[in-house]
């Protein structure tokens, strides 16, 4: 056969290579940037997740959406104290708040920082309230050092110096231990100074002896603090007291090293799975299989970009959904290619077999994909965080696979078919000559 066959449009093949080269260049230049930008979930990065049930702190207080929103706002303010870059605080159900902190190094501190209500109160030894959080100046707490001992302390500012002066002038004249002023965190009805002060993990931060009248707005809280603890306490006081009581009902702490291992293994498995699929497609569908590999590579890239752009959090089930999505994309290719092979076997020319096969496979792929999206949407709507991540990934995968495996594959294969270079070469499509029925 001479190379200059009649009617071969080599221009279309040039277009094909230009498109493939453009995508290859695009993928090669920024795929690592996109891969690195994806925020990883708790199971991959390590971190900490707590589900709280919100209980009213005062009698008659009703837990409603507004109260939950206030709670989320104060929790977010507190997490800023910890310096977590991407906290995820969500309202769940009627009375739940889920806090997710990926990459937190000190989980114990985080847990304590979150669950304390931060209701500061000053009381006498008989537990009568002298001052409470409402007397504090907003944002007036700061970490400082005791001028006498250089120990880390917390300074809080109250709005009325006279009030504190009156309190201290009364206390200073009392006999010990009545002259002590207890600084409480999260005092609850029924707590008692004399019992609490003996406890190891006491709610009383400190109980200074009052020996003189202090007409000042600055109150010094000395405790057995490290600098960091003092900073956290100041931060919590500035963030404000929680409007509610938080009961921890579920917590999930993942050490990062466990997560990293799981991540590496899942990625390795993903590469093997995809390599197997690619090999099978080329062996079985020959030339069309190569088109499938190109579109599948573009598919994986687009899913990555879309996922990044959505700011979604990738979890282990999400990776599994991505690999499953590859399977769905392969299915769309297989359905089309089987149709084209069918048409070639009936004796149609390569070009008309391609056109008929593409057209007939479309409604099949459409119906199959829509039903799966339907199932994934239900998952997203009713699932919890991990299952939701999975569902998002699945929906993104299916939509992208429709774009690449249906339109992309058709465009690329169409360029070759319409160039007429594949005319009368059924073997390139995995069809043997003797399978073709005579017209």
């Amino acid at each position: 056969m001479s190379k200059k066959r009649k009617g071969v449009k080599s221009g279309l093949i040039v277009v094909f290579f230009v498109i493939v080269a453009a995508f290859a260049a695009l993928i090669a230049t920024n795929v690592t940037d996109h891969a690195e930008n994806i925020s990883l979930g708790l199971d991959l990065q390590g971190g900490f997740e707590v589900l709280y049930e919100v209980r009213p702190v005062e009698e008659g207080q009703v837990v409603n959406r507004d109260l939950l929103r206030d709670t989320v706002a104060s929790l977010n303010a507190r997490i800023n104290v910890l310096g977590v870059s991407e906290p995820n605080v969500t309202i769940e159900g009627d009375d739940r708040v889920r806090v997710q902190l990926a990459g937190v190094s000190d989980q114990q501190a985080a847990r304590e920082l979150l669950s304390t209500e931060a209701r500061l109160s000053l009381r006498d030894v008989h537990d009568n309230m002298l001052l409470d959080g409402s007397d504090l100046v907003e944002g007036g707490a700061r970490q400082s050092f005791n001028p006498d001992t250089n120990a880390p302390i917390v300074l809080v500012t109250i709005d009325d110096a006279d009030k504190f002066g009156d309190i201290t002038s009364e206390l200073k004249d009392l006999d010990p231990p009545e002259n002590r002023m207890a600084i409480w965190m999260d005092f609850e009805e029924g707590d008692s100074y004399f019992e609490e002060i003996l406890k190891e993990d006491s709610k009383i931060v400190s109980d200074p002896r009052v020996s003189q009248t202090l007409r000042t707005t600055d109150i010094m809280i000395t405790g057995d603090f490290t600098v960091e603890e003092a900073q956290h306490l100041a931060g919590i006081l500035n963030a404000g007291a929680l409007p509610v009581e938080l009961e921890e009902i579920y917590s999930n702490a993942v050490g990062a090293s466990l997560g990293e291992r799981a991540m590496d293994q899942a990625i390795f498995a993903g590469f093997i799975g995809i390599a197997l699929i690619f090999a099978y497609m080329v062996i079985y569908y020959r030339f069309m299989g190569i088109m499938a590999i190109i579109t599948l590579s573009i598919y994986i890239y687009i899913v990555l970009v879309v996922f990044n752009w959505m700011n979604a959090v990738l979890t282990l089930p999400g990776i599994a959904a991505l690999i499953l999505g590859v399977g769905m994309a392969v299915d769309a290719n297989i359905i089309t290619y089987e149709r084209i092979k069918d048409e070639i076997r009936t004796g149609k020319s390569t070009m008309s077999a391609f056109r008929a096969g593409s057209r007939r496979s479309l409604s099949t792929i459409l119906d199959a994909n829509i039903t799966t999206i339907l199932a994934a949407s239900v998952l997203f709507y009713f699932g919890t965080s991990a299952v939701q991540g999975f569902a998002v990934m699945l929906i993104v995968s299916i939509l992208t696979s429709f774009l690449t495996a249906v339109f992309g594959s058709r465009l690329l294969l169409g360029l070759w078919v319409n160039s007429r270079i594949l005319n009368n070469k059924p073997r390139m499509f995995g069809v043997k000559e003797d399978e073709i029925s005579e017209l």
């Binding site: 050490g255 799981a262 197997l276 399977g327 089987e338 199932a375 239900v378 009713f382």
Partner: protein
């Protein structure tokens, strides 16, 4: 692979009663198993605490982990080893550990192995909600699928597809019940994926049946429908096998290389994929054939009765 529907001797219809009996027996067996032995519910569905301890010197033994817990005065209800080299110890406590116990466990094992163990606490309320959500989701999805298929196809297709779907979901549950694999949140995601795959696979076959029915000049009785169904199944056979093979490649790679965390998930996927392919080849279309021929018989009788009256 090439399955020519005119020359092939493959007959998916003749043995349909055997397929029905096989599936029927499987379903009955499933219900018996699930109601007696039940599932090995993971901590996601049970009140309690699991602690995953990654050790720095594999392999560890159950006794070693138990001894470490004894030192801090705790007795786990179950200890299993995980990881390729048994470097992960998993302790399960029925009943939730309180905050100070948890902190104690974390600091104790961090001191010994240099890794903070992963602690999961679950109250039954959370687990029950998860399970209920999953079941409700499946039911809603089933209704949605029936509605969609009824609009695009016909009601009989929808019913057959949903029967096949529940058949597949039940089969995964049974396999998990027999092998005592842990049922956790990713498992639920796997079951729901299989439901999606099962419906996807069934729709592709039904789509071909719908197309072939339109091409037929005469579809009047059981034999006509049976011929079309068999022809459609043979025509889509290569696609059914290729697709399930490629997805099994992906799920199988996850199972063998994806690590401990994804093992039960990927196992559920592989089992579900095989079940999904079986049900679309041997169950869904045959069921539709029975429903459709009943419908045709009714239509035949109705004008007859009217003319008699």
């Amino acid at each position: 692979m090439n399955f020519d529907h005119e020359t092939t001797k493959l007959d998916f219809i003749k043995h349909r009663k055997k397929f029905f009996i096989f599936s029927g027996v499987m379903v009955i067996l499933s219900i018996v198993l699930l109601s007696t032995v039940g599932l090995n519910l993971g901590i996601d569905f049970k009140s309690g605490t699991t602690i995953d301890i990654l050790t720095d010197a594999p392999p560890v033994s159950e006794a070693q982990i138990a001894a470490e817990f004894e030192e801090i005065g705790l007795v786990p209800d179950d200890i299993t080893l995980a990881g390729d080299n048994n470097e992960i110890g998993r302790a399960v406590f029925i009943g939730v550990l309180n905050q100070s116990e948890t902190l104690q466990v974390q600091s104790h094992f961090e001191e010994i192995y240099g890794n903070e163990p992963a602690v999961s606490n679950v109250t039954p309320m959370v687990g029950e909600e998860l399970a209920r959500n999953a079941i409700i989701s499946v039911l809603i999805a089933a209704v949605g699928i029936i509605i969609y298929v009824t609009i695009r196809f016909e009601f009989t297709y929808g019913v057959s597809a949903i029967v096949a779907l529940f058949h597949d979901a039940l089969l995964i549950l049974v396999v998990f019940s027999i092998f005592r694999f842990e049922v956790n949140i990713p498992f639920i995601a796997a079951v729901l994926t299989i439901i999606g795959y099962s419906i996807n696979d069934t729709i592709v076959t039904f789509d071909r049946i719908r197309e072939n029915i339109k091409l037929e000049k005469r579809v009047k009785d059981f034999n006509d429908v049976a011929r079309v169904v068999n022809k459609s199944l043979v025509q889509t056979l290569a696609r059914s096998i290729n697709t399930v093979l490629t997805v099994v490649f992906a799920a199988g790679a996850l199972f063998f290389f994806g690590g401990e965390a994804l093992r039960s998930f990927s196992f559920a996927l592989v089992v579900g994929l095989v079940a999904g392919t079986y049900s679309s080849l041997f169950l869904a279309a045959q069921l539709w054939l029975v429903l459709k021929s009943k419908q045709l018989e009714k239509q035949k009788k109705r004008p007859l009765q009217e003319s008699e009256a």
